[in-house]
Amino acid sequence: MFPERLRVGWIAGLVVALVVFLSSPAFGEGPQSTPSIFAPVSTPAIEIHNLSLFVLEITGAIFVVVAGILTYVIIRFRARDDDDEREPAQIYGSNQVELAWTVIPVLIVVVLFLTTARLIFAIQDAPKPSTALEVTAVGHQFWWEFRYPRQGFVAANELHVPLSNTNHPSPTYLDLLSADVNHSFWVPQLAGKIDLVPNHPNDMWIDPLHPGLYVGQCAQFCGVQHANMLLRVYVDTPEQFAAWVSNQTKPGVQDPAVAAGRRVFETEACMNCHTVNGTAATGRFGPDLTHIMSRDTLASGAMLNTKDNLRQWIKNPDSFKPGSLMPAMQLSDDQLDQVTSYLATLR
Amino acid sequence: MSAIPLVPGGHIHEWHLPSRGRVGMYCLIIGESAIFTIFVVAYVFYIGKSLYGPTPQQVLDVPIFNTICLLSSSVTIWLAERAIERNSIRTFGIWWAATIALGLVFLTGTAIEWYKLIYRDGLTISTNLFGTTFYSLVGLHGTHVVVGLSMLLLVLIFTLTGHVRQEHSERIQVLALYWHFVDAVWVIVFTVVYIIGK
């Protein structure tokens, strides 16, 4: 019978989807390789999660009731084969019924609106404590610049923030700017996303309660390599964070053994776009490379940071990120070896 | 419609529906108003936000004469509408031509103003936010004046060749509605650009 099959098909589809979803590693405490919004570790994401469960309960109840009535209707009132040809009673309307199913939704809306508004103000207008770490995130096509103004250094693509806890919070406040087009900072386990709009600074905060690596990516189309503008947020214990900051504030390692590579770097236009602290390279168009080897990945998460990948990236960025704004500088094999060796010393 | 003698309560009274020309023109006006609103919003939003270049205070002269001409043309076209209603085609033609003349004076005045702004004050559409929003908004209005004048001119030619008669007064009124709209938009543009924006 059609109505039966309709209902069965619907439920079967839902079950399949649920099973696939639940079997994925989307739940649990701490960092997940799947950046699920249902595995929050930081207050904004946690509060959003709690509100979302409440909303799911209400909308779920509405669905069950209305879809239930609809299912009942298509079974109970379908035309039977042995039916006579008389038309059923014609009912044109009922004011009481219209009133009822207007008033009830209005009440539901009032409840939902008030709970929602409360959380909007709690997250957006949360006062910044003096213990907060301040980071300025600048979106570029197709990489992330992270400036630590109070600590006095600039990092790229991999954001390190200190672990927070509920008794002594040490949140991180991010100022969000853009150097070119619109981007969006989204690490689902930490907070909702906020856009980086040129000429319109935004801000957000996170206070992660579990250490580890949290992944995300740019969530507003920004051009050909939008898909590879990945985010890696390292939530460090206080000791780890102090060590990382201390390393980042040092100038670039000066190893005389790679002087040839350094010369290539400084004469083949690399320094026009990149900065290495303590040298003449002060370019700002591309990521700061002073501590490039302290990062796990290259090109905002596009590939692992190995010597081979680095060499191939410099030789031809399009082989990893076709359309990336870093040009292939047509270096010879020797030059490539040398400059890669030089960069490999910049820990 | 049907052969079955069915008599519901009461027969159909006179069946009058609004004229489709009038409804169509009102719809067009609503749509055009939305376009103008967006340009006005952009203008207002960007008041005072230019980073460099000439400002309205420095270069804009309030076009009083132009405005009087354009608004008077609404009066003359109204007089033309009334004339054709009473079948005074000659009077209609005179007031209609006056409307066109006043519209042309307005356009000429705009051209003179723009010449001064571009060549003496160095303000173009690409100079700064003020230049972009000014030329776009005033230019959009000017385009509508041109379109309106073209339609009015066409009707004037038909009048002079004797093709316009009293039974066309409804259509004349629909066209006049467009002209009144153009004038009303000027009131708003004038207020925003030359009064609020300065």
Binding site: P3, E47, A191, A227 | P8, C27, T133
Partner: protein, 562 residues
Amino acid sequence: MADRTLPIDGSLDLTPPREREGLLETLHSWVITVDHKKLGIMYMTLAIFFLLVAGAEVICIRIQLAWPNNHFLSPQVFNRFFTMHGTTMVFLVGIPLVFGFANYIVPLQIGARDMAFPRLNAFSFWMTAFGALLLYFSFIGGAGLYGMGNAPDVTWWAYAPLTARAFSPGNATDYWALALIVTGFGTLGGAVNVIATVISMRCKGMTLMRMPLFAWLMLVDSGLLLVTITPLTAAQIMLVIDRYLGGRFFDTQAGGSAMLWFHFFWIFGHPEVYVLVFPAFAIASEVIPVFSRKAIFGYPAMVAASVGIGFVSLGVWAHHMFTVGMTSAGNAFFVLSTMLVGIPTGIKIFNWLATMWGGKIRFRTPMLFCTAFLFQFLAAGLTGIMLAVAPWNWQLHNSYFVIAHFHYILVGAIVFNTFAGIYYWLPKATGRMMSEKLGKWHFWLFLIGFHITFDTMHFVGFEGMPRWIYTYPADRGWNHLNLVISIGGIIQAVAVLIFAYNLISSLFRGEIAGNDPWDAWTLEWSASSPPPDYNFATDPVVHSRRPLWDLKHPEDPDWKYE
């Protein structure tokens, strides 16, 4: 099916027999036509053609996304495909469907001989067709450097400043802006025409409150279009001024604002989605009563709800902008307005349900699609409420959850009811029924494919997958879900091909329909199938909302109860 041919003068086809026309003459008559029926068919043909084209684009997209790090499409081509998929579906399928249905059916339903402005009608269609040609010409506009003369690749939102010359060199973005300005004029003309027709051309006795709900919804839809498409035209003119005349509207270096584009685009973009869904409401309001054998429940409430939706939908646009950095008060306002628009929408669902309650429901193909529509539109409305909760929106925005939500409406409501409408009214237009058997195959396959794809898509959004990405890392846990989504897409494609075959073969082999194959009650079913050029030999006179019900049930006519 029953064909209750009624003794109505208007249903006689008095056209004198014509000599058989040659192919050239037939084509010529279609090109120069100003007849609303022909233009309606042309709009529908355009819409179905581009449905297939944009469907092919998305099948390529789904093949690329079925596995991580796939190389089926390059990033450049992928970005063009999803931009063209969205742009095509909204402007070359959605809006032509509005005017296709409105043009064909509204004059017949209100007892008129044609639309108010037949030549404007033809002009509007050809502007739409030319704009479509211009947009698709971009694919072959010129090879060369990336960005030079190629298809637009900036998403269908074309956010500034990505669309500035600096970031989008070449002509791709220009094709987008100019093609849509051209179709925009066609849309404006069409909207003016529908409003003038409904207001000024109703037959005697048909007060506004006796008009079929279909006509009401097309009236409100067109009114909405007047103030919806025009902001987009304005913004696109500004974009063209920026790109060609050095304007600074969206030049952030000169103090311009990207936010301005966001507001202007969404002031268009949100009401636009209501514009697109109103035909689905219109079709449901005709099909559900006829196949339930009952009058629509709560006609005045349905009218009020439709008008209410039209107005409130103008005040919710920034719920697409919860993440751009508006103030908390601004965000809260748009949460409230968005939730409020859900109320009249829900009222409509309840009224359709109440229409079916106590009826004798015949599950022919149109009704199958409308029933699925009810489940799916309910679910989509509820995911819409979820998205209206701004903090949750900060997670779900620009993720695959949003794609799932709006495809639940665009496909689950609009495409499903478009199919219902075609199965229902094609017999009127061609005189032949479509095959019920193929219709059922079409329905069940499409339903299964739809749910496999779009139910699953909600979950991959929960797991953090953003939109507009041509590939994804293999270790994010999205692999299986993406493969499932892609498989559902293939199933939907097969179903649509069955539909296309059904439609075309019915033109040659369909059962003869007669005037009134569905035993319906509105005026179009009193004309022959297909109607003569002049629709009705004598102007109809009506006394109730269901003039044919009155004729078929003289002992119990509607006008006693209205």
